[in-house]
């Protein structure tokens, strides 16, 4: 069925449910909140990581450490034409060695951002395991990468664009599916 775009694929209520569900899945599989860490990819994954932190805390009161990771310096498209993208602060104020790190991002698409994030994380220490949580998995992978926790799996065309809005960034909590048009920005998956 040919839906007209843009359309909202996740609204605020659904997003709340997704965060709660993923928090519970992580908690179950890890057998609690001990030896767990959340690292979000800036600028939306880190906000989602913060929400997961709060949700896990509501389950058993555990205060899972949260970090933010800027993967710009690990991207594989830096040599392309055009100015280099801004580098934002990475803050992982704890040692990840020996922890199970949940890497959090808003959308999983080609897998290249995740590849960069994995490389970056490995430079910070040697975690016991890295698991991958996303709000939306839209397919079209170019690398053998798969999320362990996905809020919503949605079938998309490559010309389309998934746009995540979060209340912390001044919008509402919702996820759009858009025609990409000419304003598509690399990296904004």
């Amino acid at each position: 069925m040919a839906d007209t775009l843009p359309k909202i694929i996740i609204d605020a209520k659904a997003m709340g449910r997704i965060v709660e569900r993923i928090a519970h899945q992580i908690f179950e599989e890890n057998g609690g909140s001990a030896d767990l860490a959340l690292v979000g990819v800036v600028t939306k994954g880190d906000l989602l990581a913060g929400r997961l932190h709060d949700a896990i805390k509501r389950i058993d009161g555990g205060d899972v450490p949260v970090g933010r990771l800027d993967i710009t310096l690990y991207r594989d498209d830096l040599s392309g034409a055009g100015p280099n993208p801004l580098v934002r602060r990475t803050e992982i104020p704890f040692d990840i060695t020996g922890l199970t790190v949940i890497l959090v991002d808003d959308v999983c698409y080609t897998g290249r951002t995740t590849r960069a994030a994995l490389d970056a994380l490995m430079d910070y220490g040697r975690p016991t395991a890295i698991r991958f949580a996303v709000l939306v998995d839209r397919g079209h992978r170019e690398l053998p990468i798969r999320p362990d926790y996905a809020g919503l799996e949605v079938v998309t065309r490559t010309e389309e664009r998934v746009k995540v809005e979060l209340a912390e960034l001044g919008g509402k909590d919702r996820v759009w599916l858009l025609e990409s048009g000419s304003d598509w920005v690399p990296g904004e998956e």
Partner: protein
């Protein structure tokens, strides 16, 4: 907004927003130098040539560390000769290096304008690591980064620069940067070390250290550049230290939370006393750490391959 340019030759032509963008980027790079694996793959496959026509250890090492932490391939080329002595001219050297297709050239040279000269004749990005008495933009950027970290901003800040300003590329770059960012700059030194037409620089000038230090938030001492003087500009080290040297007594005229900076290397006991340099108000070592981050930021930003 980012900083988009082919080269970084001088602070003078930059906008305040450009400087802020470089400083913001540099803050992001501090983290790389603080972790165990001090390397990111950002500039893999890029070639950086460090061209040093003037002896320098600090600046060259700082650039080299910055480049290596970005995974660039670095090549060092040192020569103390200039085209005035017999041998290869600067133009020849540039053409030769250009043929090796480097992405970035970092150049230090004893002649003002040498970096601009090279930049005009190569497609590589050029970073000025100090050209004669003209400018030393990355030193100013790391100083500005240090000031921002300690003071939170620049607006209305009183910054006093003491020493051989007329002969200092560090002072010149800092003056331009501080003016653009809203700080008030006061220069102090014997008349022989002050620039003749300081009006063009938009600064206050005095030869009385007490007046210059009163209420200062930041004090920057400059190295006495004996090697760049044709005729002596002060009678003796002793007299200089007496009237223009920073020590724990005169520094009390400044704001209580004053920070003391020095671009190094220091003539201890001449432009600054040892206990002041090693004391709690000194931010000299912070300057060195910021130096690597700032140079990483500049190399990274210029490696973006912006067409001219």
């Amino acid at each position: 907004m980012g900083f988009v340019a082919k080269d970084l030759i001088a602070i003078e032509p930059l906008e305040a927003a450009d400087i802020i963008a470089i400083l913001d980027t540099a803050e992001g790079f501090l983290d790389v130098s603080r972790r165990d694996v001090k390397k990111v793959p950002a500039l893999r496959g890029k070639t950086v040539v460090n061209l040093f026509f003037e002896p320098s250890t600090r600046t060259r090492v700082s650039f080299e560390i910055a480049e290596k932490r970005l995974s660039a391939d670095t090549i060092n080329f040192s020569s103390t000769g200039s085209s005035t002595s017999k041998g290869e001219t600067l133009l020849d050297t540039v053409k030769n290096i250009e043929a090796m297709a480097p992405d970035i050239l970092v150049i230090r040279h004893p002649a003002a304008g040498a970096a601009q000269f090279v930049a005009d004749r190569t497609s590589a990005a050029v970073i000025n690591a100090g050209d004669g008495r003209h400018e030393h933009p990355t030193q100013a950027l790391l100083d500005l980064m240090t000031i921002r970290q300690k003071k939170g901003g620049f607006d209305g800040l009183k910054v006093t620069i003491v020493g051989d300003i007329a002969n200092s590329r560090v002072a010149r770059s800092n003056i331009f940067g501080l003016n653009k960012l809203g700080a008030k700059v006061t220069l102090c030194g014997p008349g022989t070390m002050l620039p003749n037409k300081h009006e063009a620089l938009g600064v206050e000038v005095t030869s009385r250290l007490e007046a210059a230090l009163e209420g200062a938030d930041v004090v920057m001492a400059l190295r006495i550049q004996k090697e760049r003087q044709s005729t002596p500009t002060f009678p003796s080290d002793r007299e200089y230290a007496k009237y223009f040297g920073l020590n724990s007594q005169v520094i009390d005229l400044c704001e209580p939370d004053v920070i003391i900076m020095h671009p190094g290397p220091v003539n201890r006991g001449v432009e600054i006393s040892s206990n002041l340099l090693d004391g709690s108000r000194s931010v000299v070592l912070g300057q060195v750490e910021n130096g690597v981050a700032v140079r990483m930021a500049v190399v990274y930003l210029l490696a973006g391959g912006v067409a001219q």
